[in-house]
Amino acid sequence: MLQQLANGVFAGSIYALFAIGFTLVFGILRHLNLAHAAIFTAGAFVGIEIATRTGIPIWILFPIVAAIGALAGLLLERTAFRPLAGRDDEHFAGLISSVAFGGVLIALIQARYGTEPKSFPREYFPNQLFQFAGIRVTLTQLVTLGLALALMLGLAWLVSASSLGRAMRAVAENPTAARVVGVNVDRITAGTYALSSGLGTVAGALLALNLGQTERSLGASVELVGFAVIILGGLGSLWGAMAAGVILGLAEALTIHYFDSTWKGLVAFALLFAVLVLRPRGLFGHLKVREV
């Protein structure tokens, strides 16, 4: 039982890491970026390729993966979102163009890596096992949790306390007003995508590290849970996304414990459905959301 809960927390921290990148873009730019799952998948494949080719240690690998993710984010913003700026249907069209970008990215992954799953090299990361109070925890899981926590806290600080964060919040509320006071809105927009996608690729590589391997559907498997996390936490709320990620991870773990793994999805989505209907702004959300 305790073991299940611990597993739930680890799964939840990856959900949360997936979701904060997603929710960051939504909260600041009101774009529902459906390419995020593809970016996440790309992070896993790229992480494995670099690890396999160079064997560089993990603390160098992740910054590189994040940097590649950031570049992908810049490209995504440039091709799928910036050309739509100012259009009547900007938000809705962005949803479709991001689906298109995600499709292209997945096709490119297939072109480069084929259709078979790819694995991290054996012995790439020490699979050390720890025991606390009867709970077995791997070193990978601890690194995952630690890294996820550090990234989330860093991001929360950035948005709420730094002058960059103030400019981001200004853009979130009213891009015209932000430009009037001299905020470089284009740069903040591009930066938000870079940040979001960097977080997304790291989350993808982390999940692949935990699973030992990856395949093209990796992102799609997390995407729906990612929606649930965002809604439970309140769209645009970073703290909410973190808490909701862990709550969902725990809920899934408990479902598996008491019922059967085939019912796993039902609990998550029933919870999501109930929260949406009873408290549409999410458990922790307060942001007003523009319509798509």
Partner: protein, 563 residues
């Protein structure tokens, strides 16, 4: 020769059907992504009732499955819609995705569905049948375009608040589009099952939903044949690839993705924009003097038409309006002035049913304040309004904007249009004549085919007044109609308002332009801090020291402004 292409052509038909289930919600601006769930329910439940043998020896048994699937989809959409349609935008999208996933997990765990292994049936769907269904759907959507409900869909898509104020029952309109979407998705599920002969719970998953959405958007949801274009286009890509002899598996998703990106970036209305551009602009009809005849008479001058007592509204600790007593009599022009934040807009929002008062009571044109149903009930009773910041329907022409205004005084035409009944044609012609008459009245007849964004600010305000007038209102409420206008334009507006009053329309308007208020209104009410501090004959009220102090400022320059 087509024989070898049967599967391909039927696949296109199925994709069109799925895309129509998105088309109908997108038309009304709703992002329903639960189609997979409705399709799944339609397919599984219809499998319980579809007979194993052809009907009367020769008819496809799917003819029973199709109505069953439609009914199951519609019923499920209605039940899901009751809670979920309180949500909007992304929330609605994700809520409906959650519903779809719940159905999938449920089907996977139920026994009668065959669980994860799925269901096998006879293949009863032929190419002909699939395309007959497509033809019926296309016909239904073709006739929807210029009908009253079609306009209501567009109005709700563009601006729900304005649509409600024009008498459109927003809740019902959204539910109608949602239920129609569920019904079409249910039909899709049945057609899919009996074409391929096999489904599993994962047949109807999120990627199927995304595919349908992409098809609908690619084709374009502003024109009825959009789904056909979208499905044809998407199916053509792998065929062309095959014809060119390109084998690599990743090429197809790659090209599809790039093309989708290109279409969404360069053809904002989808592929159908290519065709819609060729449509000619209908010419303005000759002034139809009979258009305004046959409208119900307005109440006699002096009849009380609205009365509120002790009206109040508070937001948390802030009291925006308190203890307002007001009676409005037919034929008067009532000006409401007061400093910013005095509660003027809150007061008219309560009177027009957009906000519920927290204190007091009242009756506007026979509708009690605070009664359930929302703004459209007040609109149908004869109240029409404009907004402080124009709320026009951006993707409709000026003429179509005004046509929405006729909603409250016209009858539903859709069902009659399906059967080409002359009475429907007569009703539509009358609505258009009314709309043209109002456009002429405000001087916008030459710009009838422009979108609001192509109009100057003053013209947009005039257009909003024309739209409000098209509802043949007893009581017209204007919220700062002259804001941003210069004195000349304000003067013209004042003349228009006086003309309306001569025609017997009661006008209530909020305004900052004091000269215009004094030139126009027959009675003046002054609000300050949410309370009425003076009311009565305009010039006497304006000279009241309390009013001068609170509103006009005591300086010499301002008194000159007033005179």
């Amino acid at each position: 020769m087509l024989a070898g292409y049967d599967t391909l052509i039927t696949n296109i038909a199925l994709a069109v059907i799925l895309a129509y289930s998105f088309h109908v919600v997108l038309m009304a601006g709703q992002l329903n992504l639960g189609q997979a769930g409705f399709a799944s329910l339609g397919a599984y439940i219809s499998s319980l009732v579809v007979p194993a043998e052809p009907l009367f020896g020769s008819l496809s048994p799917v003819l029973i499955g199709i109505p069953v699937g439609a009914a199951v989809g519609a019923g499920a959409a209605f039940l899901v819609g009751l809670p979920v349609l309180r949500l909007r935008g992304v929330f609605l999208a994700i809520g409906t995705i959650a519903f779809g996933e719940m159905v999938r997990v449920f089907m996977n765990n139920a026994e009668w569905t065959g669980g994860a292994i799925g269901l096998r049936v006879e293949k009863w769907v032929t190419v002909d049948l699939a395309w007959i269904v497509v033809a019926v759907l296309a016909y239904l959507f073709w006739r929807l375009g210029p009908s009253r409900i079609g306009r209501a869909f567009a109005a709700v898509r563009e601006d729900e608040l304005a649509a409600g104020s024009m008498g459109v029952d927003v809740v019902r309109t959204r539910m109608t589009s949602f239920v129609a979407s569920g019904a079409i998705a249910g039909v899709y599920g049945v057609m899919f099952l009996y074409f391929f002969g096999r489904i599993t719970p994962t047949t109807f998953d999120f990627s199927l939903t995304l595919g349908g959405l992409v098809t609908a958007v690619l084709g374009g949801y502003l024109v009825f044949f959009g789904p056909v274009l979208g499905a044809g286009f998407l199916t053509a890509v792998p065929e062309i690839q095959k014809a060119l002899g390109v084998e690599a598996g990743w090429i197809h998703p790659f090209i599809t993705g790039l093309l989708l990106l290109a279409v969404i970036l360069f053809l904002p209305g989808g592929l159908s924009t290519l065709f819609a551009r060729m449509r000619r602009v209908p010419a303005a009809p000759d002034p139809d003097l009979g258009a305004l005849d046959g409208l119900p008479p307005l109440p006699d001058r002096g009849t009380p038409i609205a009365r509120v007592r002790g009206l109040g509204k508070s937001y948390g600790a802030v009291q925006a309006v308190r203890e307002v007593d007001l009676e409005i009599r037919s034929g008067e022009v009532l000006g409401v002035i007061g400093p910013n934040g005095a509660g003027k807009t809150t007061l008219v929002n309560m009177i027009s049913g957009l906000e519920t008062p927290t204190a007091g009571e009242g009756e506007i044109l026979g509708v009690a304040l605070g009664s359930p149903g929302g703004a459209h009930r007040f609109a149908q009773a004869g109240l029409s309004r404009t907004f402080q910041h124009s709320k026009l329907f951006d993707r409709l022409t000026a003429l179509d904007n005004v046509l929405v205004g006729t909603h409250a005084i016209s009858r539903s035409t859709y069902l009659r249009r399906l059967f080409w009944m002359p009475s429907a044609r007569r009703d539509e012609r009358r609505a258009r004549a009314l709309a043209w008459a109002q456009l002429r009245r405000v001087g916008l007849a030459e710009r009838a085919h422009l979108r609001p964004s192509a109009l100057s600010y003053g013209d947009q305000r005039r257009l909003e007044i024309a739209r409000a007038l098209a509802a043949h209102p007893t009581l017209l409420i204007l919220d700062e109609p002259a804001a941003g206008m210069n004195h000349v334009e304000a003067g013209e507006l004042a003349a228009l308002i006086r003309g309306l009053a001569e025609d017997g329309i009661t006008v209530l308007f909020i305004e900052h332009n004091v000269k215009m208020v004094l030139d126009t209104c027959t009675r003046l009410v002054v609000l300050n801090f949410g309370e009425v501090i003076a009311s009565g004959e305009p010039h006497r009220v304006a000279a009241d020291p309390k009013v001068v102090e609170a509103y006009l400022g005591a300086e010499e320059e301002e008194s000159e402004h007033v005179r």
